[in-house]
């Protein structure tokens, strides 16, 4: 029998490591467009990490709602930034 809680913890740590790698692009990446996609990539990884935290703490029914909100906010944020730069006309 596999201990799934340890497996979920390992996957979470791997995802957090990848999120820190994306943080390099979010901080340094030349111009604002690269920063937006870096932040978006961190957001998608956080979506999964939140659900995995729910499984680790045995509170999936609560964490799944937080995850839904996070997905919506990430999407709206990306769209708002895209709309802003399209209307402004320059990066």
């Amino acid at each position: 029998m596999i201990d799934m809680r340890q497996f979920f913890t390992g996957v979470s740590i791997a995802l957090l490591f990848l999120a820190f790698l994306c943080l390099y692009r979010a901080i340094r990446g030349p111009f604002i467009t690269n920063r937006i996609i870096g932040v978006g990539a961190i957001g998608t990884k956080t979506l999964i990490v939140l659900l995995l935290m729910g499984f680790i703490y045995d509170r999936v029914d609560m964490f799944v709602d937080i995850s839904i909100v996070y997905a919506l906010l990430n999407f709206i944020g990306t769209l708002a930034a895209a709309k802003y730069f399209e209307m402004k006309g320059e990066v």
Binding site: I2, M4, L18, I48, K88, E90, V91
Partner: protein, 120 residues
């Protein structure tokens, strides 16, 4: 081999494949030369990775609750996130890359490599 073991193995397979695609997307985001290439790498592979991870977690949740109704409802919520992200991820990618293209970000071409132009 009981049902819980089967669910755990399925979840492990889905999560590891999702992690693989996340790794590919992150390497693309860090290494590729310009904005559109990075968008190409991260936009598609992240969407597929989120889909795989969420499907795996929904399967695990359904098996963990032995298919009782409250657990099935939570699984349906997780599948709802997967469907939403399947629609929203490519939409966001398209919107941000169209905005960048209209703002005049030049796509990378092979000439950039030889002329040593400032990378965008």
């Amino acid at each position: 081999m009981d049902t819980m073991t089967i669910g755990s193995i399925l979840t492990a397979i889905f999560l590891l494949f999702g992690l693989l695609f996340f790794t590919g997307g992150t390497i693309g985001l860090l290494r590729l030369p310009d904005f559109f290439c990075r968008m190409h790498a991260t936009g598609k592979s992240d969407t597929l990775a989120v889909l795989l991870c969420l499907i795996g977690l929904a399967i695990y949740n359904a098996f963990a609750g032995n298919f009782a109704l409250p657990y099935i409802l939570v699984s349906i919520k997780i599948i709802f996130i997967a469907i939403f992200w399947f629609l929203a991820g490519p939409t966001g990618t398209h919107a941000i890359s169209r905005a960048a293209f209209r703002c005049g970000v030049k796509p990378w071409t092979l000439e950039h490599q030889f002329k040593e132009v400032e990378k965008e």
